[in-house]
């Protein structure tokens, strides 16, 4: 049986208590809102992407549970200063991890420190908490203008 410790790892608790890159980015080149109607989580992701397609800065703000906050915090940490192609690769890797079969080990090489969130797949009702920030990011980058929802 998977224990609570598999979900609430110390790194996640740490990011919940002191989220990195938290706040508004003004000015920014891209931004979007995301909602999880199930639990009321609200998230806003801001990016500054330069002409070389490098994510110069990325920030988030909003209200959410520890999983959604830690996930967003880790996301901003890993993407800051990276080329946009890195966002595409990580989006797919993260999505695969969150929806993988129970027995699949997370691809730690591809995911880096995001692998700490692999425990969510054992808690089906919490997967959306972890993926909300990524969907919000996608909506910001693609400039759809529509708020991201997890439903």
């Amino acid at each position: 049986m998977f224990s609570l410790g598999d979900l609430y790892k110390q790194v996640i608790i740490d990011h919940t208590k002191s989220p990195r890159n938290f706040g508004k980015l003004d000015p920014c080149s891209h931004d979007a809102e995301g909602y999880n109607p199930l639990c009321g989580d609200q998230l806003h992701v801001y990016l500054q992407i330069n002409e070389d397609n490098i994510i110069e800065d990325i920030k988030f703000e909003g209200q959410g549970c520890s999983i959604s906050t830690a996930s967003a915090s880790l996301m901003t940490q890993i993407l800051k200063g990276k080329p946009l192609t890195e966002y595409e690769r990580l989006f797919d890797a993260f999505h695969d991890m969150a929806t993988a079969d129970m027995d699949d080990e997370p691809d730690e090489e591809a995911l880096g420190k995001l692998a700490v969130l692999a425990g969510v797949k054992e808690f089906p009702s919490r997967i959306k908490c972890a993926t909300l920030c990524w969907h919000t990011l996608k909506s910001a980058v693609e400039g759809s203008g529509e708020p991201a929802i997890t439903e």
Partner: protein, 404 residues
């Protein structure tokens, strides 16, 4: 009241979740079902399953009798004048939509006002918003105070001859507040407004006499009163229901159909188009009998006792802020805990076998009032015990320690 005996009536309670005894404290979302309700539904499917109001065979006659007997049980339970005034629906939500659509469509127009309260469930907000959008009427909101009690002075100020209907929840699912509906109805009637009472949360916890209260429309759901899901009632005054156009067209709601014209059936069938949830209705009737066998006096005494036990613990729990502290409230403990998001609480408590609700409880404006994204909610029922309340607070201590 013998709690152990009552617990024995509910088969589902005797199980473990993650190796811990189940502590079910999500009764405001739905209550568990006693064996008599489960047996009644099973008996219908095993012995009597057939369509009602049409067959001449024995099965259909038995099913029709049980269905109509359930209507009579429910009529007497809410002291409704006539069984013509008891309409079966899919639940509270459908009942309110029926009134908003049928009564609202015929009686509400531009310039009119619909008055609801700040603590309504989405099901008593959205249908009225939709009606206002269609008709050009406006939606007004009775404010509440920090304790989660309606501001009755403001209510009086909002009432006018423009008010066509007041929609109010009897007991708030998010806060536990019991609203002074007798007073609300009197004042609303004084300006000629009709009143719809959302009884979904209250019906299992206190007696409601629709005649004594002079309620125009009353809606509730079986599943919050130990009955099956997917079935509920709309109670309406006969003269109002008679004057209303049908809500849905179909079988059972007609007397005569030709391609030129249809003559509608009499009440209550006019509003029961299509084959209803027969098993659900029969189970609903049985659930009402179950409540009657315990009696509201015993239920109210016991639930007050339990709420006061839980409230004392909540007040002593460091970092816990109660949401909803009305003087008159029932068996709902809604709260937030410093440093732990309600959604995380829900997951952590689940691993301790404790089932609570975390979220906005389909009452987002209530969350907006308290400036919280969500609350954790423990809601109690007749089968809950003091030791289950202890288990809740032990689990909360674990959650708090985890994030400290």
């Amino acid at each position: 009241m013998n709690i152990e005996q009552i617990r024995d009536d509910f088969p589902i309670l005797h199980q473990e979740v993650y190796g811990k005894p189940l502590v079910y404290l999500d009764n405001a979302a739905t209550t568990q079902k006693p064996r008599c309700v489960i047996d009644a539904v099973r008996k219908y499917y095993e012995k009597d399953n057939s369509n009602i109001h049409r067959g001449v065979h024995s099965l259909s006659e038995r099913a029709t009798k049980d269905y109509e007997d359930a209507r009579e049980t429910i009529r007497s339970f809410f002291n409704v004048k006539s069984s013509k005034e008891v309409i079966f629906t899919r639940g509270t939500t459908e009942s309110i939509n029926l009134v908003a659509s049928s009564w609202g469509g015929a009686n509400v127009s531009k310039g009119d006002e619909i008055l609801i309260s700040h603590m309504e469930h989405h099901s008593n907000i959205v249908p009225w918003q939709m009606l206002c959008e269609r008709t050009g009427a406006s939606l007004k909101v009775i404010p509440m105070n920090d304790a989660g009690e309606l501001d009755m002075d403001a209510f009086q100020g909002l009432l006018s001859e423009r008010t066509k209907l007041v929609g109010v929840v009897h007991m708030s699912n998010a806060l536990g507040t019991i609203n002074p509906i007798a007073d609300i109805i009197k004042q609303a009637h004084a300006v000629g407004a009709k009143v719809l009472v959302d009884g979904a949360q209250a019906a299992a916890h206190m007696a409601t006499d629709v005649q004594a209260l002079d309620i125009d429309f009353y809606a509730t759901s079986a599943h919050k009163m130990y009955g099956p899901t997917g079935v509920g009632i709309l109670i309406g005054k006969e003269e109002l229901l008679k004057a209303m156009p049908p809500y849905q067209g179909g079988g059972d709601m007609i007397l005569m159909v030709t391609f030129e014209k249809t003559q509608y059936n009499c009440l209550p069938h006019k509003f029961e188009a299509g084959t209803p949830n027969i098993a659900g209705v029969i189970g609903f009737g049985e659930a009402i009998k179950y409540i009657q066998s315990i009696g509201f006096e015993a239920i109210e005494t016991r639930e007050k006792e339990l709420l006061s036990y839980a409230t004392k613990k909540a007040q002593a729990f460091e970092g816990l802020r109660q949401i909803g502290t009305a003087k008159n409230k029932a068996c709902v403990l809604s709260f937030v805990l410093d440093g732990v998001h309600p959604h995380d609480l829900g997951t952590i408590l689940d691993r301790e076998g404790v089932a609570i609700r975390a979220g906005h409880h389909c009452a987002m404006p209530v969350m907006q009032y308290y400036k919280v994204p969500a609350t954790a909610r423990a809601s109690f029922s007749i089968y809950n015990t003091e030791s289950e309340v202890d288990a809740l607070f032990e689990a909360l201590t674990k959650a708090r320690d985890m994030f400290s």
